[in-house]
């Protein structure tokens, strides 16, 4: 056993030596671009629009990932340590994982109140702020209101404004550049939004069902009517009793579209769709959630097209 202790000691000394070497060999800082780290890909996509070639934007969560449940991987701590600007969705979406990373990052300016911290939800009027007694009896509710505002193009303009403000704060020399790009983004949003509204106009009032309560901003913007969710309560796995109720509701109200994000299980949505003659569409939570949706415009384009297509298809049913 003595041998093992010696081996352990040697291994320890080796690890220590490697660490010391690592600490001694430091590269010269060559940060040409500002490094923007965001919690979710929608924010990174918009940061690229606003920051242009002056920034390198990266999201911690992938578009295919459920942004409520991201592993607080130590490699993310290194990214936040190096971040020039940190952008989060806010409204407690990331409460289960981001605080661990922020605390570990040793980059005080990215913490709440710091000049490298951007809460993208500033200036967004949150929907569904819980009223009355708030408790977990209601499920894993978002206590500050619904944080899934990224699919509302008008909210995207607010995100762009917040990101631009943040970039100007840390890089005021390029103020004009960021302002011009932000205004350009706003203009393109206005243009495209007109088209998107037109595309969905024929389906105004169409009743839909979603997996999680994450489509409220979208349905409000495009005049759809979300009548229920697969989840009985936010974050709670679907139960047979709830789904039976949902099926009856969908039949009664002629809801023919079920929307799920790629990370939610599809076996139950299929069952519900079969029983109600509805169509299931899988739509991304964030850019990159499905192939070909890497920037904000292609992301919204995809969603609008898919929803319009599915509602067109089910019209006769």
């Amino acid at each position: 056993m003595k041998k093992m202790a010696v081996a352990g000691r040697r291994a320890f000394a080796l690890v220590g030596g490697v660490l010391l070497l690592a600490a001694a060999e430091l590269p010269a800082p060559a940060a040409a671009k500002l490094y923007v780290v965001t919690t979710t890909p929608d924010l990174a996509a918009i940061a690229r629009e606003v920051g242009g070639d002056k920034v390198e934007a990266e999201s911690l969560a992938l578009g295919t990932q459920d942004p409520h449940f991201v592993d607080a991987k130590p490699s993310f701590i290194v990214k936040l340590n190096r971040a020039d600007l940190y952008v989060k969705r806010g409204l407690d979406l990331e409460v289960g994982w981001a605080p661990v990373l922020e605390k570990g990052a040793r980059n005080p300016d990215i913490l709440y109140g710091g000049r490298r911290h951007v809460d993208a939800s500033d200036g967004i009027a949150p929907l569904e702020i819980p009223t009355g007694v708030l408790s977990r009896a209601l499920g894993d509710v978002h206590p500050f209101g619904n944080p899934h505002y990224q699919r509302d193009p008008i909210a995207a303009k607010t995100i762009a404004k917040n990101v631009a403000d943040g970039l100007i704060r840390i890089d005021s020399d390029n103020r004009a550049y960021y302002e011009q790009r932000r205004d350009d983004f706003d203009r393109r949003i206005d243009e495209r939004l007109a088209g998107w509204l037109q595309e969905l106009a024929p389906y105004r009032g169409a009743k839909i069902v979603t997996y999680h309560k994450s489509w409220e901003y979208f349905t409000a913007r495009f005049g759809l009517d979300s009548i229920g969710e697969m989840e009985p309560k936010p974050g709670v796995a679907p139960s047979p009793a709830h789904l039976a109720e949902l099926i009856n509701l969908m039949i009664a109200q002629h809801a023919k579209l079920v929307i799920r994000e790629p990370f939610y299980p599809d076996n139950l949505t299929r069952v519900v769709a079969e029983k109600t003659e509805a169509t299931v569409v899988t739509l991304p939570e964030s850019p990159g959630g499905v192939p070909g949706t890497d920037d904000y415009f292609s992301f919204m384009d995809y969603i609008v097209k898919q929803v319009a297509h599915a509602l067109q298809e089910t019209k006769g049913r």
């Binding site: 220590g16 600490a23 605080p99 661990v100 922020e102 005080p108 809460d119």
Partner: protein
């Protein structure tokens, strides 16, 4: 409004002067305007002050409102001029250190935060200036054929834990956990301040905390994957793991590969510290003096590798030394390895974790005869998440008992966890243990557990 009240009050003052001062009319006529003017300036000064106070109050309220809405205080754009000024101020300040820092690190070290951070993740809190308060209850049943085990074949409200967490000031945050163990008096499990805004990628802790030896030891009981701690951890550090009162510093090591490397050094009073009475009270007999060797020193190095988006590995090495002048010399070396698989582009919630830790312990009791003991031990467990709410896993334990020659314990422990939402879970497990510490060496143990947390949403350690 304000001007009318000035006029009224001036009129009153004039009347008062008329009635109270029995002076010649001429003198009064001459004096009145002067007196009035004096009063007027006094009034205006007071009003100005009032308005100023109101303005401050409004500003403060605005700030609070902003805080409530979760917006950071309106940041000041750094203009060229301000930058120069900042550089000037920085030059006037005592130098912080030589500039051998990684990219991105320099910014933190060189420029103290313009607007110091409040603390991690406390942006939008459901309470105003109250700490986040949480409660965890741990309810267990241990069924066993071995009558040598404590609290066997009965229900136990094993532990109640109350947590308080909040920023202390712009530079530090506090975390405190008070535990009420069944049959024991309440105790502080952890209570420490973490200093988040130190330069050079440093972070420091002061207080009582779980010492950074290995991976499992840092976890509170309710965060463990199994109902009890691994046999090797218990054999080395006791039923509740290793904690101590002291200070610790950790350093996120900058490196050219942007690899996560964290080294931690901690000093605490000693192993198994149980001190009674208040610090500094007169003693009847002088206490034995303390030397540097009486403290326990813990070092921990940790790194993490993303193999790809779905697979990652975490490795760590730990070291503990305690060589008190009277008593047993202890040195423990630890290694830990965790592998995680979590497909990010998937429907559902499948994931897998495999964790192992090894302990290599050297003890010298300074006794006559056989006094030096080198022992080792370890555990390994794999855990698979079946779906959103269910986990299955198995832990295998093997350890020698430190301070003994050749006494051993080993066990196998399959378990199942069901957690409808992350705030509560049910766990059932069967554990077989063969221990040389018990007369009746074999024991079959059935663990039933329900654990719940209430309070704000907690962030999960990785």
């Amino acid at each position: 409004m304000a001007s009318r009240s000035i006029a009224t009050r001036l009129a009153f003052e004039k009347r008062r002067l008329w009635h109270l001062r029995l002076l010649p009319v001429v003198a009064l006529v001459a004096l009145a305007p002067i007196a009035a003017a004096a009063n007027e300036t006094q009034e205006i000064r007071e009003l100005r002050k009032e308005v100023g106070e109101l303005r401050d109050a409004v500003r403060e309220l605005k700030g609070q409102l902003r805080q409530l809405k979760g917006q950071p205080p309106a940041p000041v754009a750094t203009t060229e001029q301000e930058k120069e000024l900042e550089a000037e101020i920085r030059a006037a300040m005592p130098p912080l250190a030589p500039g051998t820092l990684a990219p991105g690190v320099g910014a933190v070290a060189a420029a103290p935060p313009v607007q110091p951070a409040v603390g991690a993740g406390i942006g939008k809190s459901s309470s105003i200036l109250n700490p986040d308060i949480s409660f965890n209850g741990d309810f267990t049943f241990l069924g066993t054929d071995n009558r040598q085990l404590n609290k066997a074949n009965r229900f136990s409200f094993r532990e109640a834990e109350v947590g308080f967490q909040a920023p202390i000031d712009p530079y530090a945050r506090a975390d405190a956990f008070i535990t009420f163990d069944e049959g024991e008096s309440p105790g502080v499990e952890e209570a420490y301040a973490t200093f988040l805004t130190l330069p050079y990628n440093l972070q420091a802790r002061i207080g009582k905390f779980r010492l950074s030896f290995g991976k499992n030891n840092l976890l509170h009981r309710h965060a463990l994957s199994q109902t009890d701690r691994p046999l090797a951890e218990v054999a080395n550090f006791g039923e509740e793991g290793l904690s101590g009162t002291g200070i610790g510093v950790s350093y996120l090591v900058p490196n050219p590969w942007d690899q996560y490397v964290l080294v931690t050094g901690e000093v605490a009073n000693g192993l198994g510290e149980e001190l009674e009475g208040a610090q500094g009270i007169p003693l009847e007999r002088p206490a034995p003096g303390r030397s540097l060797d009486d403290f326990v020193y813990v070092g921990h190095a940790q790194s993490f590798f993303d193999l790809n988006a779905n697979n990652n590995i975490e490795v760590g090495g730990s070291f503990l030394a305690n060589e008190p002048r009277s008593g047993t010399d202890t040195r423990v070396y630890g290694v830990d390895l965790t592998y995680r698989w979590r497909p990010l582009a998937q429907q559902g919630y499948r994931q897998f974790l495999w964790r192992s830790e090894g302990y290599f312990t050297h003890q010298d009791t300074h006794a006559a005869g056989r006094s030096v003991f080198d022992t080792s031990g370890g555990y390994t467990y794999g855990e698979y998440r079946l779906g959103q709410t269910q986990w299955v896993g198995t832990r295998v334990d093997w350890t020698e008992i430190p301070g003994t020659s050749g006494k051993k314990e080993w066990g196998v422990y399959p378990y199942f966890t069901f957690s409808p939402l992350e705030f509560g879970y049910f766990r059932v497990g069967y554990e077989y243990v063969r221990s040389d510490r018990l007369n009746d060496k074999d024991s079959h143990r059935v663990w039933l557990q329900y654990n719940f947390s209430i309070g704000p949403h907690a962030a999960h350690a990785f």
